[in-house]
Amino acid sequence: MRPVAIVGAGKTPFGAFPDQDLRALAVTAGQKALQNAQLEPGAIEAFYLGNFAGPEFTAQNHLAPYISTALGMTGIPSTRFEAACASSGAAFFQAFMGVASGVYDLVMIVGVEKMTCQPTPRVTEILSGAGDCATEVKAGSTFPSLFAMMARRHMHDFGTTREHLSAVAVKNHANGALNPDAQMRKVITLEQAMNARPIAEPLNLYDCSLISDGAAAVVLCSADRAREFSNKPVKILGVAQSSDFVALDQKPDITTFAAVRGAASKAYEMAKLAPGDIQFAELHDCFTIAEIVAMEDLGFVPRGRGGFFTAEGGTRRDGPMPINASGGLKSKGHPVGATGVAQLCDLVQQIRCEAGDRQLKRNSIGLAQNLGGSGATCVVTILGEY
């Protein structure tokens, strides 16, 4: 296996864009990534699309060639990957394998989701398709309710509090307020976060990520050729994907994500790094509790300490382990199929010192964790200075 680098990255702002359809968003992000790598579309040898529910949201299927041809790429393999909210993480992992194996030198991954074209109850229903429809969804579980049940058990087992959950939201909103591409650039107080209307107890509105439109793209290249296309290439130090049961009730312990631990240990091994070597991270905060559990599973803090660490300020931009300096899914937005690649764009921006007001001082090794469903898929990626 040979080393691989990111030579181009680009994304759309996240938000509600009634004038832009799914393909327009994907093409915008793809073009930005090509420009960033100073590449013509004809140079790309394979196209990988991450998208969760384009057909359900927009009625359009066969999305990968629908998008890659609009970007000016014809004749190349062009395939869509679906792994719920980890769809573009999964697409990225396959694209990495394509280059690492020596089959391709240059590939593009685009993640996209167009969600705001449907009313909220319908969005909730479409997202429920990432759960077990024959059991938990049939009984009335929604995605907020699955994470709410994790939160309840985590509170019961470890003493995590309502205030700890809200501390995640307050911190991510403070970061997102500085991000010009974020959907909700609004600082919130702890009091606001704790007293918002309930969605699935104990989770309230401010514990939930947003319904968003958006796209993100990266171009990968074999590391030995990276300098041909970028004066700021970023190296992929480690990447791994893991899976677990789709139904929450089949997991023996819902206060931890087995797929996160599995992907993390393989990614750390590939990178020859330990959790303590990671300087900053973008974690999959689809709900506040998910960020708390993920930081524990990644080994940043001991089990059960994620909430306490957050409340103490440990994950703020000036803390010992900055998490979601971008604003996270909570404030930046969560167009589900775009999120995995968007997290990588955020890491690239930090490593290249292009993050503006959110720029971190310790920025040479970053980790992204992309979660699908209630933890049935996880992709962990570690990026570093070239």
């Binding site: 229903e125 009984a139 009335g140 579980s141 929604t142 009730d249």
Partner: protein, 75 residues
């Protein structure tokens, strides 16, 4: 007992009260959903009827309607 099942019993592993639901459950809101650890060792996701339950509460199945199990708190 509807559906011809044995009445199953177990303990609440976790629970939530749902306030925002898809259209087909909108009329039920707010409703409680729980993961029940059955005494036979299986875990299932079920609805809770009657009094709200908390982690570790004992529950018994009261009905199966449209393939959904309903449980109620017992002593």
């Amino acid at each position: 007992m509807q559906g011809g099942h044995e009445m199953r019993t177990g303990q609440i592993y976790t629970e939530t009260v749902v306030h925002l639901a898809p259209e087909r459950f909108a009329a039920d809101v707010p409703y409680q959903v729980a993961i029940v650890k059955l005494d036979n060792g299986e875990s299932i996701t079920a609805r809770v009827e009657g009094e709200r339950v908390a982690i570790d509460d004992r529950v018994a199945e009261t009905a199966v309607r449209d393939g959904i199990s309903f449980f109620q708190k017992t002593l």
